[in-house]
Symmetry: C2
Subunit: 428 residues, 2 copies
């Protein structure tokens, strides 16, 4: 084939895209990685930035620095607005056109409001570093407002935190906000006791951590209750507006509502002119992760609806990484002239979730455990998966410090002026 046949474009440098690119590092391919942000983000710890436990720089790394040693890889900061799957080009927002021979789309997902996008200003989600610092500002500002509020009902609303969605992110957020109120903040305020803050975790399904076995869900619910979190399972949010959340008839006055439910895939299906495969807007792919009819275009991670052994692959970091590695290997084989389709098979490496700084649940399939040991395992695993010795040291130091002293190092209200006091106005 001609020299131009090995141009590979990877869109998105999350877990999947980064793995695919690294697999192609120092190969004969000419690889271009495009991302609209300059950093790869360790999303599983994003909730710790939102709750002032970790600094932003502890969980994010410049993409081009991560790929610097691969001389055949170029990193572009840019926003993709379209893909021409027949002419084989990627169109960027600034008008640039990137031709490709093979394309990997790994553009992830955002939280979804199930057709209620009007709730977003009142119930922001957590997918980016900016989301995390926005949530951090809102949570910390709520306590500041409570300190200045003289009306008891208004103060109670500032001290009520509702987390919607009982998956790992929701459970982890609820646990750390409860600990913030009960362990970190007492003594800092004069006009109320931060321990009076209410943290509610609302889950539409029958139990939290639905991806785990029921006994681990039960354990998590009890551990949350011990931290003071009120778990409202089997209750769906029917409306969110400024300062209020409705669960059917019941209306909760809460100034801080956090959305940790639902998934909306990136608009890759629209770029490709394909019908979305499901409500989340994902792209249906062949067993080898390529788009039906377009064997040179792959979609992986949260953007793809992938089946493995008859079951849908969950939208978790290890699955995205495995898919990235798989597509990388497929593309390497093609560079060597082997175009045999290679079906992807998901290996479930188990699930982990923490509840505060003392409890966790771990389910490896063949073994399940919970409690303090699970927490340590969770911590060690996450430090191991962080990129770079420096970040491992920094996060280990932060956690050790928090664990020993209870005080949090990143309690910063940034980005907006304090003058901007209406939480609805700022995003609306």
């Amino acid at each position: 084939m001609a020299e131009t046949s090995n141009r590979i474009v990877v869109i998105g440098a999350g877990f999947g895209g980064l793995e695919a690119a690294m697999r192609l590092g120092n190969s004969a391919a000419r690889v271009t990685v495009v991302d609209q942000r300059n950093h790869h983000l360790f999303q599983p710890l994003l909730y710790q930035v939102a709750t002032a436990l970790l600094a932003t720089s502890e969980i994010a790394w410049p993409i081009r620095h991560l790929l610097r040693r691969y001389r055949n890889i170029e990193v572009l900061l840019g926003t993709v607005v379209g893909v021409d799957k027949d002419v084989k080009t990627v169109l960027l927002e600034d008008g640039a056109v990137l031709p490709f021979d093979q394309l990997v789309i790994a553009t992830g997902a955002r939280h979804a409001y199930f057709g209620h996008d009007e709730w977003e200003p009142f119930a922001p989600g957590l997918k980016t570093l900016e989301d995390a610092t926005t949530l951090r500002r809102r949570i910390l500002t709520a306590f500041e407002r409570a300190e200045r509020e003289k009306d008891p009902a208004r103060r109670a609303a500032w001290l009520t935190f509702v987390i919607v969605g009982g998956g790992p992110t929701g459970v982890e957020l609820a646990g750390t906000i409860a600990e913030l109120a009960r362990n970190t903040l007492p003594g800092d305020f004069r006009n109320f006791d931060p321990a009076d803050a209410r943290v509610l975790l609302v889950e539409a399904g029958p139990r939290v951590l639905a991806a785990f076995r029921p006994e681990l869900s039960d354990y998590a619910a009890k551990a949350l209750a011990r931290l003071g979190v009120e778990v409202l399972a089997g209750q769906a949010v029917t409306d969110v507006s400024s300062g209020k959340v409705a669960l059917g008839e019941r209306v909760i006055a809460a100034e801080t509502v956090i959305w940790a439910a639902g998934v909306q895939a990136s608009p890759a299906a629209a770029w490709l002119g394909l019908p979305p495969a499901d409500r989340a807007g994902r792209v249906k792919v062949e067993p080898d992760l390529s788009v039906p009819g377009y064997p040179d275009i792959f979609v992986i991670g949260d953007t793809a609806m992938v089946m493995s052994e008859g079951r849908p692959v969950p939208g978790v970091a290890p699955a995205a990484k495995q898919q990235g590695r798989h597509v990388g290997a497929t593309l390497l084989a093609r560079l060597a002239g082997d175009r045999t389709p290679r079906p992807f098979r998901y290996r479930d490496q188990g699930s982990l979730a923490t509840i505060g700084r003392k409890a966790a649940v771990v389910d490896f399939g063949w073994i399940r455990f919970r409690g303090g040991l699970a927490w340590w395992l969770w911590g060690i695993a996450h430090i191991f998966f962080l990129i770079g010795v420096r970040n491992r040291l920094a996060v280990a130091l932060s956690w050790l410090w928090i664990h020993t002293t209870g005080s949090r190092s990143a309690r910063l209200i940034t980005q907006r002026d304090i003058a901007q006091r209406d939480p609805a106005a700022e995003d609306g």
Copy 2:
């Protein structure tokens, strides 16, 4: 006197206000500290956040946490809009009114554009954490744009960094940006060599670091030149617009211009209905730091024009701290019934400035030195002055890491979407 005579309000929790409040901690006074931000900021290291060396949380601490052990001190997050010096009240933006018996105004200063505020969007300054992350975004984005730019002249403009003002902040910024380009970034880009970046330091006066002795200024200029910084002393900026800086006839094409010149005091003079004492808008104070005719209102730090032994006190952190301690002691004496005016006397503890990560200048008056030893002294002094063991450890780790590996941990482009690509548009 009545019980209400010991209400003390401190506006601003920078170096001066925090010291004053701490001095009054656990006294008979009822102290309210008002700040428009929730954090005390270690401004001398702000340039390291702007240049991706340190994380935001390493140099900022929640004010109320710093003051938590003083049960007589209340911290309010709020923006002051006025002071009634006769009725003795402070007015907040949200309409709240804080009565006081004694008032300490310690609201600092911002950079000034000498009547050219229209330059600000093109040449942002560095006073707050948001300023620092904005500068960090601009500096890092400039390299990203250079990677995508095909026109050599446009690329050169993206790779030209102009710092206006040759004081310690300007010198430190120029040195660290030069090191970023020459030590940290090479290898990360494919389409240009980051070491080709130009860093220009423009100083209207005859030499950089004018507050130091001429031989230390000379040394600093030579150390900057060794790092590749072009020092343009004796040249005044006559215009700044999008992508351009004019120094009289000479026009430099530069997409990144940073303002490190000039000082504009907070609007305390306007609040008090007093004529500003100088061009920077500072408030003239009596030898005991009180406002003439208003012995119960003190103005300290960068907001005050203070004379000590016939000479103006410089606007540096140690001076603000000394003034805060002085006013704190004065107020304590008043609580004990002693209203004798106590004149403030500034003790010059010397000046320090770094040039990159290997050189520094130190002038203690009785001894001056420079070079590697001065750098270590600078580093140790700054770690010592940081608040809290955790931050000392974290900053020491960050610096050790940077010093050993040359790589920077906080290379994050945040806050704005990458879609926003016109640096002039975002602030304009």
